[in-house]
Symmetry: C2
Subunit: 442 residues, 2 copies
């Protein structure tokens, strides 16, 4: 008889394996933190300490948010519809200069609550005070690739940049071996980091086998500035510093020429696409079909809540697929299954986590979500991939398991006191308004 710690049954199971197998009346069994069985339920006896009935809904791998700044939930709706520099200089920078550990911890808890409630089980983060991000993710029971943002100017967290590299290395040591948290080295961008910093950050990443994460080719003006300063487009510049490689995770990649796309493909660089942020900030449309055609791994990210303004990967998938269709004037590009891969298998590969997560296969970590499809906007159900990308919303998620642990049950968060998280977040928002009222630039 099949025995397990946790059994999720009675659903349409999307394995997201190489053949994109769909198992009707499927089940997934979890032993410890590992998926121990996946199959169709033919009525054979199964025993588990905990059984979750998917009630005919969809069972799929937990979603992967490839790029966010979790704590920026506390800036959600603070300022919209503004030119980028006005938004940064008058709102974001004045507040960030006053932030502290508790602010980032609180904002990340809020983000984790939102992400779990909308089906995300893993996120890659870049921000200040990242030890707090890791702690909050750990408390929420989420998987997180965290990394302190590094740039040439002093940081409210670590001070001068030499300390930033030390801080990153201390994070790597502190969280080594953690089942949920891993650490990346994260220089902000080629226009805010000196060549020396970029090279040192890359060496640190290679030394520890950690990913290197960077914002790159996000706006046309960034590309122009990089050409003006270094005589090369961003990826050629990184290549001249010997930084391109499969450990590099390149966020945004909106403005690329064909030579850069060839460089990305040839060096195994991973790309994270952030369509809603790129739209809201009017950055542009990333050439995703061209990237995919070159075999490049492309994940999907929400970016931070100040430029989105939520962390819902179901909405992000919907927008990603539709934006590429209109952007390329071709309704066949970025179909539903390809889009869903961006937040599952491809998302995992982009973060270097493909051996652990991204599909429901025996031996992988148990990161699993369940959607209720017995709802008007998900009825009828001809094609589960279509529903997940084009019709579902984050709140259709009823259950979430991360690393074998049930963190969401019938939409109740089991790892966080939601009322307390919301109250603390609202207190921090009061601080933000106070800081801005005292800011010269507000």
């Amino acid at each position: 008889m099949l025995e397990a710690d946790l059994l999720i049954k009675n659903g349409t199971l999307l394995t997201m394996d190489g053949r994109a197998s769909i198992i009707e009346n499927g089940f997934v069994a979890v032993t410890g933190d590992i998926i121990s069985h996946v199959g169709a339920d033919h009525g054979s006896p199964m025993k588990a300490k905990k059984v979750i009935d998917a009630k005919g809904g969809i069972i799929l791998p937990g979603l992967i948010n490839g790029h966010t700044h979790a704590a920026m939930t506390l800036f959600r709706g603070l300022a919209d519809d503004l030119p980028l520099m006005e938004w940064l200089n008058n709102y974001i920078f004045p507040v960030e200069s006053r932030m502290d550990q508790d602010f980032v911890y609180t904002g990340t808890l809020l983000a984790c609550a939102e992400m779990i409630l909308s089906g995300t089980t893993t996120f890659c983060d870049m921000y200040l005070f990242e030890d707090e991000v890791a702690k909050a993710a750990k408390q929420a029971g989420m998987r997180c690739l965290a990394g302190e943002v590094l740039y040439d100017f002093p940081s409210p967290n670590y001070g001068p940049i030499e300390k930033g590299l030390e801080y990153t290395e201390s994070l790597i040591s502190k969280w080594r071996g953690d089942p949920l948290i891993s650490i990346a080295v994260e220089p902000h961008s080629v226009y805010t980091c000196s060549a020396d910093l970029l090279v040192k950050a890359n060496s640190l990443a290679l030394k520890h086998g950690a990913p290197l994460v960077i914002h790159i080719a996000e706006t046309a003006s960034e590309v122009q500035e990089v050409i003006r300063r270094f005589g090369k487009r961003p990826f050629a510049y990184l290549e001249s510093l010997n930084i391109l490689g499969p450990h590099l995770i390149a966020d945004h990649c909106v403005h690329l020429d064909d030579a850069e796309i060839a460089r990305i493909a040839g060096n195994g660089v991973k790309v994270i696409h952030n369509p809603e942020s790129n739209m809201k900030l009017a950055s542009g449309i990333s050439p995703v079909p061209k990237l995919l055609a070159q075999g490049i791994t492309v994940g999907l990210g929400t970016d931070g809540c100040a430029s989105n303004n939520n962390l819902d990967l179901f909405e992000e998938m919907d927008t990603a697929a539709k934006l590429q269709k209109v952007g390329n004037m071709d309704p066949t590009v970025l179909d539903a299954l390809t889009t869903l891969r961006m937040v599952t298998t491809s998302g995992a590969r982009a973060l270097g986590l493909e051996k652990l997560i991204g599909s429901l296969e025996v031996g992988k970590k148990a990161d699993i979500i369940v959607l209720d499809t017995n709802r008007p906007h998900l009825t009828p159900l001809y094609n589960p991939y279509s529903h997940l990308v084009y019709a579902a919303r984050g709140n259709d998620v009823t259950h979430s398991v991360i690393d074998g642990r049930l963190v969401l049950e019938e939409r109740n968060l089991l790892t966080l006191e939601l009322k307390d998280v919301l109250r603390r977040a609202n207190d921090k928002a009061e601080n933000v308004l106070n800081w801005l009222s005292k800011s010269d630039t507000y």
Copy 2:
């Protein structure tokens, strides 16, 4: 003492009046089907037969879906990511040729359930068997501007086109004076309707003071075909038939030149923008900021579920605003308040219903929704307009009142048996699959 039939209190009240007044700790009182008081709650005694506590959430006018084909919910996810003609010829047309009254009635009930659950209180519909649409909307308690689709070829409903105009006139007679239902005359498009049909349809609309609804300038190939056949772009062609006027509701309007925009503005034609459908079908990006700059009234529609694939106007607003920003490479265009107007005041004006609905003002019909903002993805709340457009989802709606009647309470549908609606819809989906399996073109 203030007395009313229904009182909604304890929320941030967005009136959407001309000044876009926001009333903190606001209330709205309803007597019969009419808004009788709107104001701030200062603790004065108020008495009502029914009191709804918004619990600090947002109270706003019910949303208006300016263009949909409600019964196409039954095609949701049936076929996606296909070239337009393959999608129409192999899936939509074979099924539509076999449809009957009960199919449309059932699909519309499903749509109404979805719309009420996502905050929509009024919709403008174009489809076959529109008497069934009107009946289903009436049963659901929704406000509906319904109109039978007219074209040169025989209809599965009315047969030859002469009968189509008669059928439309019979609908006008049947539903005259109904508090919820009104009827429009709806020729499908300039490429599927002869000049004779367009002129007759327009005369019928003018005779009864009804709106005239048409799909127009949706795709580049449509515009090219119209130029080829009539030697004019679509709006010049309509002008030559003397059809342009404030009674005309023009759906899509993606491909327009400046002369057409001037014609639309000069004749008071109303426009309904359908961004998600235009993206998914790769039709293009409507020049909405240009239209607004010319003072043109622009509402927002989801289009049918076969090309969206849901009816959630919150998602549609989010996409509309972001698409224009990236489409114009300007983050300041289509700000949150302007976008919200497209589904409230401007949406009402587009449908000729501005005296009845669109804002929370004394004397208007009581179409009101309440959103719960005590949720992670709506925390903190700096700006309610921003949240509604960029962060909220349809399921954040907790209550809905239409024409003074409570139709949704704590997310429970009061006018429809949801289980029964879903069961009936799933039965119809079985029919669809059977029809397609017997179709030559499937």
